[in-house]
Symmetry: C2
Subunit: 189 residues, 2 copies
């Protein structure tokens, strides 16, 4: 997605340790017009798939997911990283965050993830893929079916994308970062 | 907003202790078409105001805020409830959650909240108003200006709305819940 790649090269910032910050337009401050274009591209990439619900995980997956749901007129559900004490019929799993070096639990109400649901999962980043695998686990627990996973940015030098594709998941990433070595952003053509 | 009121009466569920659950269409599973209509109504309510940025707080404020930003072609920034270790120029404040009975910190990067910014704040719920007041504090710290605050649902039997209006804030709530006594949802006409 050329528009996104150009924006990452223009406004993304690279820090030692393979950190790419896109907090001026994706995951802290957000550009809603870009977010709509991102959603259109997800619609295009998953045009051949049959799904009835969009799923994401709080917080920065919500903006692209709601835009995809808006374009396709489908409900959107987001997994939560804290267990609200009022959640009914909770499904939960544990995710290890490399970035934060800790475990956290991710949960969703079974009320909104059902057998028969065909899920398109959307998130902002795919790096080690642990949050994505946690959400896959919730989908399995619910008896729902995962149709595909779309990410705004994938870091191909981290193992998440390879792991998901080896499991047979249809993964679509709109910008694939091949390297951040020497704090230079290298995006796949 | 009639559409919203009807939906709350139809799909909202009331629990002892003044709890209103709208998790099937607002803050866990979300209806993106309703969310767009909600955003249109916010645009209408704040049509006379001059603002250049939309602010919200994660997680359930993000969906209505990004829709408002999309309609008006304005950037959207969300305050975070956890401090990412990579956040630069961080402003933070402490918020007491009555629902969860604990203190938490809310933060935002000064990079995206500047002197001269005129902010429309959007969130899903206004009850005690502590998260909203925390965000007001961040806006003051940044030297920005708060133009108005829009909430999808206000519980008028809790003190948040009164407190904000007493401070001179222009508050617009799209559905005002006057009582949840005896687990019956009473919405202001």
């Amino acid at each position: 997605m050329e528009l996104l790649k150009r924006r990452i090269l223009q406004d993304g910032r690279c820090f030692p340790g393979g950190i790419l910050k896109v907090d001026s337009f994706i995951n802290h401050q957000m550009d809603p017009i870009l977010m709509k274009s991102i959603a259109v591209e997800f619609v295009r990439r998953f045009a051949g798939q049959d799904f009835n619900k969009v799923m994401t995980i709080e917080a920065s997956g919500i903006a692209p997911a709601i835009m995809v749901g808006y374009l396709l007129e489908l409900p959107v559900v987001f997994a939560k990283k804290k267990q609200p004490k009022t959640m009914e019929n909770m499904l939960s799993t544990t995710v290890h965050s490399f970035t934060k070096d800790r475990e956290y639990s991710v949960c969703i109400s079974h009320d909104f993830l059902n057998p028969g649901d065909r899920i398109l999962f959307i998130d902002d980043f795919l790096a080690n893929g642990n949050a994505a695998q946690g959400c896959m686990d919730l989908i399995v627990q619910a008896g729902a079916e995962l149709v595909g996973m779309g990410f705004i940015i994938e870091k191909s030098f981290q193992p998440g994308g390879k792991r998901l594709r080896e499991k047979g998941v249809k993964v679509e990433s709109l910008a694939i970062i091949e390297s951040l070595d020497n704090c230079k952003i290298q995006i796949r053509d």
